[in-house]
């Protein structure tokens, strides 16, 4: 039995009869069959917390992919998730504490935002340059390298961002992560700027997200994003970017976001910066 230490605020508490959707070395995704939370993940504590994930010390178990298979039964009873046929893994979620959500921002100090943005952008570009081994001087450079096309005026044609869906490598392709960043920024600014609200609403129009064009895992996170839910580091990065008064805290939350996946964090961060530039120009 493994004790889940924390859980996302959307994690189910009631029983479910689910199935393993996908399994990796340190994480399992489960399709639950529940209407409210059709998808939950069990993640090692080294991975970023999401609203629908239980986190526990999975690392001690070795490679999970050898214990579980796609299609295995996953059953929650009395707060314990068990699998069938494998009996090796049992996760007790009863004492898992939900992680703290970033608060909504009620007021914005524009100069503060410009200051934070000016600090964040070079830090991101520096990170991307050092990872890729090539100098990336601007957001446009970054977008070109990633093969992403973005509308010159976000407010005019936000839907164009869906054209990037599935572009790039990995479980969550770069185009998806970039869109996720745009959604995170627009969501954070919704209560403050009407143009942000408008962009978010247009992006959230039902039917735009063609899940066939990307991976199931990425589609899940985009669906959560369209409902206003983001992973813990992304929530807090947006919060500190819009509201923070401390450069160090901002740097920390940038690094937490950059730690997501191989390049997913950087792609998301690029989306956030792009969106704020665009929205503040409106």
């Amino acid at each position: 039995m493994i004790i889940a230490q924390s859980c996302g605020y959307l994690c189910p508490r009631q029983s479910f009869d689910g199935q393993v959707h996908s399994v990796f070395q340190r994480s399992v995704n489960i399709v639950t069959g529940l209407r409210a939370t059709p998808w939950v993940s069990i993640l090692d504590t080294s991975l970023s917390a999401t609203p629908t994930a239980f986190q526990c010390a999975l690392a001690t178990l070795g490679n999970l992919a050898t214990a579980l298979r796609t299609g295995d039964g996953a059953f929650m009873r009395g707060g314990v998730i068990r699998f069938k046929p494998s009996r090796g893994l049992q996760v007790n979620t009863a004492t898992a504490q939900p992680w703290q959500r970033a608060p909504l921002i009620a007021a914005l100090d524009d100069s503060r935002l410009q200051h934070n943005l000016a600090a964040l952008e070079p830090a991101l570009l520096g990170h991307v340059s050092s990872v890729s081994g090539r100098p990336v001087a601007s957001l446009d450079d970054y977008l070109n390298a990633a093969g992403l096309s973005v509308p010159a005026q976000l407010g005019a044609r936000p839907e164009a961002l869906f054209g990037n869906l599935g572009k790039g490598q990995g479980l969550t392709p770069a185009g998806d992560d970039f869109l996720l960043g745009v959604l995170a920024a627009a969501h954070g600014l919704r209560p403050l700027w009407p143009q942000a609200d408008q962009v978010f609403q247009r992006l959230a129009t039902p039917g735009l997200l063609n899940t066939c064009r990307t991976t199931d895992v990425s589609a899940h996170y985009l669906q959560l994003a369209l409902a206003g839910h983001f992973s813990q580091p992304v929530q807090w990065l947006v919060y500190h970017l819009l509201h923070g008064t401390d450069d160090l805290t901002l740097q920390h939350s940038l690094h937490a976001t950059l730690a997501i996946g191989a390049s997913s964090g950087a792609d998301t961060c690029a989306g956030i910066i792009y969106a704020i530039h665009q929205l503040s120009a409106l």
Binding site: M1, I3, P12, S15, F16, L34, R35, A36, G78, T95
Partner: protein, 473 residues
């Protein structure tokens, strides 16, 4: 809130059936899924115990506490670091005339023959009296006090007598620097731990307390600390279960220690006598196995809410246990009879009740729990190799998990069951199995057989009831 009843309506029905078998059969006949339990009244039929258990099952606080206690047990790294005089290692022994014994606390008048005999021997050994009569008088005057070894983090087999001048092994858990102790094994025959207290016994103890202790201490200074878990793990692959059989472990220990012993500056005759004694004693490692087990379990002590058993010990009358979550409190019941084989000329009427701290090995997941590794002694402890494997398997039902440090070749290298969960003992009515030697009920006769016994159910019931009072749902 989503309604769970509707969740049942949308799930495929699978029934667990406790009681009338025909109900399960009918569900299956009707095309449903049913699993028929071989239900037994839990807690051996103790209704109140069953209720307490029910309230503690899948309790979030307990699950988390057990996970923590188990993790601390698994992380322990017991190292043999030193040899010390008992009074030096346990200062309370030097302050008063105090003697430690095996198992839970017991008054002099209630003690069994072998423990009384061994205590009298220890008094002679300490030269607090010259004759057995004087020793007895000293006790009756209330000059000598008695306490369990476990109260000072010590363990000792059978009568388990430790007095201030005896040498102790010092075992340290490098994870938390906690130290635990055990005495030296005296070998077989007329020995103090079976209650013998004649001149030969005392002389042998004196030799152990001086020459042997000195040799062992010097040797450890040469070798440096010795990791005990790897020796136990290897021995489990060589036919020991490190409780009733320690031949392989003793050999492995010697392999590590001989070069160091030979490089000490001690006189050759002293070294020769030490080696002769150790190599003639197949149980020499037992006391180290016990100390290592105590060290691992001490790491798991004191986790509030944990139902993990941290001590099982017997004083020749009662069996006592402690739980991690109930601290220093003992929960006792009369020891269960031993099912065993007797040496020729002895029978069940000659046997003392189960005795000794050595059940600490089972508490730590070896001994009877690792019986599958020791086909050589399965006959002695009742049955066939198949029974032994079955025993090891069935112990999985009463444990929190298993210990990957100790694996069993006969079970395809499955880890041993470890971390007894008192709740599971009640729920499954499976009692922890203990391999044990059988002492003659009269002091000094010695070992008259060996066998297996079980921990009594009521200890676990009482312990859980006490724990339940601390827990709220």
């Amino acid at each position: 809130m989503v309604n769970t009843v509707n969740a049942l309506f949308t799930q495929q029905l699978t029934v667990l059936n406790a009681g009338l078998q025909s109900f399960a059969d009918n569900i299956t006949r009707a095309g449903g899924d049913a699993v028929a339990l071989s239900w037994q009244p839990p807690a051996g039929g103790d209704r109140e115990g069953g209720r307490v258990l029910a309230s503690l099952l899948n309790h979030p606080q307990i699950e988390a506490a057990n996970e923590q206690a188990m993790a601390q047990y698994l992380a322990a790294q017991p190292m043999l670091v030193d040899v010390m005089r008992a009074g030096e290692a346990i200062p309370a022994l030097d302050k008063h005339k105090r003697i430690l014994h095996a198992g839970p606390p017991i008054a002099w008048n209630d003690m069994c023959g072998p423990v009384q005999g061994a205590i009298l021997g220890a008094i002679l050994y300490e030269q607090w009296a010259d004759t057995l009569e004087q020793a007895q008088a000293l006790i009756e005057q209330g000059e000598v006090s008695f306490e369990p070894c476990h109260h000072y983090d010590a363990v000792a087999p059978m009568a388990g007598i430790i007095s201030r001048s005896m040498p102790l092994w010092v075992v340290e858990n490098t994870e938390n620097s906690q130290r635990v102790f055990s005495n030296f094994n005296e070998g077989l025959g007329k020995v103090l731990r079976f209650g013998a207290n004649g001149d030969g016994v005392i002389e042998h103890l004196q030799w152990m307390g001086t020459e042997l202790a000195e040799a062992m201490k010097a040797m450890l200074a040469e070798s440096g600390p010795i990791e005990l878990k790897p020796i136990m793990a290897q021995a489990l692959h060589m036919g020991d279960e490190v409780h009733n059989r320690n031949i392989a472990a003793t050999g492995l220990l010697m392999k590590q220690l001989l070069p160091a012993l030979l490089s000490t500056a001690l006189p050759v005759e002293q070294i020769q006598r030490a080696i002769r004694f150790i190599t003639a004693n197949d149980h020499f490692f037992l006391n180290l196995s016990m100390a290592a087990c105590k060290s691992m379990l001490k790491a798991a002590e004191g986790v509030p809410g944990s139902t993990m058993v941290t001590v099982m010990a017997r004083n020749g009358v009662n069996f006592g246990i402690r739980l991690s979550g109930t601290g220093d409190t003992w929960f006792q019941a009369p020891a269960n009879p031993v099912d065993g084989l007797f040496f020729p000329g002895y029978g069940v009427d000659d046997a003392a009740a189960d005795l000794g701290d050595s059940a600490i090995t089972e508490t730590a997941g070896v001994g009877g729990f690792a019986m599958a590794s020791s086909p050589a002694i399965v006959k002695f402890v009742g049955g066939t190799p198949a029974d032994a494997t079955q025993n090891s398997r069935s112990m999985q039902r009463v444990t929190i998990g298993s210990n990957p440090a100790f694996t069993l070749p006969a079970l395809n290298f499955a880890p041993t069951a470890a971390g007894i969960d008192a709740r599971k003992v009640l729920d499954s009515s499976v009692l922890p199995i203990i391999n044990t030697g059988i002492a003659h009920k009269q002091a000094g006769v010695g070992q008259i057989g060996a066998g297996i016994t079980t921990a009594p159910m009521s200890c676990f019931v009482d312990a859980l009831s006490a724990l339940a009072r601390q827990i709220s749902r």
